[in-house]
């Protein structure tokens, strides 16, 4: 069990996240949703220990120190299109930066290759990062995060640059990895249908406060979506049992 309790993050005089608390079970995927500027990235960075903040982060009910967070929590930032001519394999290897020395064991290189291979990028291992597409770059960063063998994986918009097929590939891979390795995954995501399809738990964030937390069916209501996004939404339960969420009106209700 992983939990964060009363997490508050301030930037100057402005409070970005206020008293956020939630629990996430191991082997499960939690989706963090909310409008732009709600504080999703800030909350993830505070949990990862990248941004200073108040509150507690606990793994198996034990408060995590800074070092424990660095060793056990992997954070994958949004793709900012950073250009680098590092090869894809070198990027993956950096996921275990504390294990890297002047020479690299064959086994480690083979494992890094396998990490690339799970996303079908094995043949591109010597390709430079700035020579691949935005979607492929996103997959490489995800493979890097998984290569670090974290106990808690925080993903910031992991499907933002991906086409429909790769969105499914990534989320299926993440869910499978979480289940097989018993890790906690929290991902910030904008696509509510994907969140409902893949996440075991949904956390709604609005103006830095947690507005709702639970199963997709409980959290996604037309009233809440109207409040959160200012959009009249239609929530449809498909024959497969999944939720499909779409906007009814082309124009937001408050526009």
């Amino acid at each position: 069990m992983f939990s964060f309790d009363s997490v508050t993050v301030k930037r100057g005089a402005k409070t970005i996240v206020t008293g956020a608390s939630a629990q996430c079970r191991t082997g499960e995927l939690t989706a963090l949703v909310g409008p732009n500027g709600a504080g999703k990235s800030t909350l993830l960075q505070a949990i990862a220990g990248i941004l200073p903040g108040e509150g507690h982060v606990l793994l198996d009910d034990n408060p995590m120190t800074g070092k424990e967070r660095r060793d056990n929590v992997a954070y994958m930032p949004q793709d900012t299109g950073a250009q680098s001519s590092l090869t894809l394999l070198e990027v993956i290897l950096l996921g275990r930066i504390n294990s890297l020395g002047l020479s690299l064991p064959e086994e480690l290189v083979a494992q890094a290759e396998a990490a690339l291979d799970q996303f079908g990028l094995a043949g591109l291992q010597n390709r430079a990062l700035d020579e691949v597409s935005g979607g492929q770059r996103q997959l490489v960063y995800l493979a890097q995060a998984l290569f670090s063998a974290p106990r808690v994986l925080l993903l910031d918009e992991p499907t933002a640059a991906l086409d429909l097929r790769h969105q499914l590939v990534v989320l299926q891979a993440v869910r499978r990895y979480a289940s097989e390795h018993g890790i906690v995954v929290i991902m910030a995501i904008h696509d509510l249908s994907l969140a409902a399809q893949f996440a075991d738990q949904i956390i709604c964030l609005d103006h830095g406060r947690i507005d709702g937390c639970g199963k997709a069916e409980e959290v996604f209501t037309t009233a809440r979506l109207r409040d959160l996004y200012g959009v009249e939404a239609e929530i449809e339960k498909l024959s497969s049992g999944r939720l499909h969420i779409s906007a009814v009106n082309a124009i937001p209700t408050d526009a």
Binding site: A74, E90, L94, A122, Q125
Partner: protein, 358 residues
């Protein structure tokens, strides 16, 4: 397909992948070895060239069997040319390493030891020493290098003070560095404006940068600083590599980016100050050597940092050879020649490469 076949196929695939990476790494390593071989050749040719004609056997005998060598040749090789060549290697290596680290921590391909104003401030320090005629007691020969080093340290302190106010972000470091550069450039111009013609001539000669100032008393200073700084960089090579993914990703990988920048900033200050304090302002090497190295060995700093050192040393020794050949009988200050040598070399590499390396 049997289980054994599947395991065998996976094992072969992993092995092929691993060997593919090894092939790339070995190819890059070969470039490093080739660079060292090129440096060894330019080292010998630099000692061979000069106003007095020497043969290869003269040089080899002087270096390895001094008892069999002619005394005049011995003096030329061991007391005049060898310290100049060794100084060229240490200065080039220092500027190459300082340049590549600067480009990495600032995430900027235009960065070099000049970017933060260290070289310009060293020039101002030397100018002040020449202008005032002040000499250090006991070690008068160290006056100008000391003044240059001191002023470079002052410039570093200025940039550092501003940058720490904004968490050592690369943008603030560059802005503070450029402001410092212009400040010391103006002060330098003021000193030159006020100086008498003979003093002005001495200042300008120092600013050109010349290996003629090298001697066995000052070579160990630059050499020791280089070796200490180079060894200090080694534990952080992977962290520097990670910094090429940007500050946020490096931080997400558990790297204390601010602390890393401060450490590298100190090392760059030491490397640049020591290099320019003795021989004067030698431009362009700190910019071009890292780019040449990056084109040949990529971004893995385990190879890039040593390659930048080798390329820096190679460019300066080659420039030193040319500075003696351009006008036979005299030695043109090396600071004038480095860009003339470095630019065409860089252009050739850019044209031959299919892709952008930054």
């Amino acid at each position: 397909m049997t289980a054994r076949t599947i395991v065998s196929n996976i094992s072969e695939a992993a092995s092929a992948a691993s060997s593919s990476y090894r092939n790339l790494f070995n190819r890059r390593l070969t470039w490093l070895v080739a660079g060292l071989a090129g440096l060894a050749i330019s080292f010998v040719f630099d000692i061979l060239t000069g106003p007095a004609f020497l043969s290869v056997s003269d040089v080899v005998l002087s270096l390895f069997a001094p008892q069999q060598s002619d005394e005049t040749v011995l003096v030329i090789v061991r007391s005049i040319r060898l310290p100049m060549t060794v100084m060229a290697i240490f200065v080039g290596a220092s500027l190459g390493v300082a340049g590549v680290i600067m480009q990495t921590i600032l995430g900027n391909p235009l960065a070099s030891p000049y970017t933060l104003g260290f070289s310009t401030s060293a020039g101002f320090g030397a100018s002040i020493a020449i202008f005032t005629g002040f000499t250090l007691p006991l070690v008068p020969w160290l006056t100008i290098p000391f003044a240059a080093f001191l002023m470079a340290a002052v410039a570093a302190g200025l940039v550092y003070s501003f940058a720490t106010l904004k968490a050592m972000s690369s943008e603030v470091m560059i802005l503070a560095g450029i402001a410092t550069l212009f400040l010391f450039q103006s002060l330098q111009s003021l000193v030159q404006y006020l100086a008498a013609p003979e003093v002005l001539q001495a200042i300008v000669f120092w600013l050109f940068g010349s290996l003629l100032k090298a001697s066995w008393s000052n070579v160990p200073i630059v050499g020791t600083v280089f070796i200490i700084c180079f060894l200090a960089v080694i534990p952080d090579l992977w962290r520097l590599t990670a910094l090429r993914l940007g500050d946020m990703r490096a931080t997400a990988l558990g790297i204390d980016v601010k602390r890393l920048r401060i450490k590298m900033f100190v090392l760059i200050t030491l490397l640049t100050s020591a290099a320019v304090a003795i021989v004067g302002t030698i431009g362009f090497v700190g910019l071009v050597a890292p780019h040449i190295a990056r084109m040949l060995v990529g971004e893995d700093q385990r190879l890039l940092v040593p390659m930048a050192a080798v390329m820096g040393a190679f460019v300066i020794t080659t420039a030193s050879i040319c500075s003696k050949l351009i006008s036979p009988g005299s030695v043109i200050p090396i600071g004038i020649v480095t860009a003339i040598i470095g630019v065409p070399f860089l252009f050739i590499l850019i044209l031959r490469k299919q892709r952008n390396n930054w």
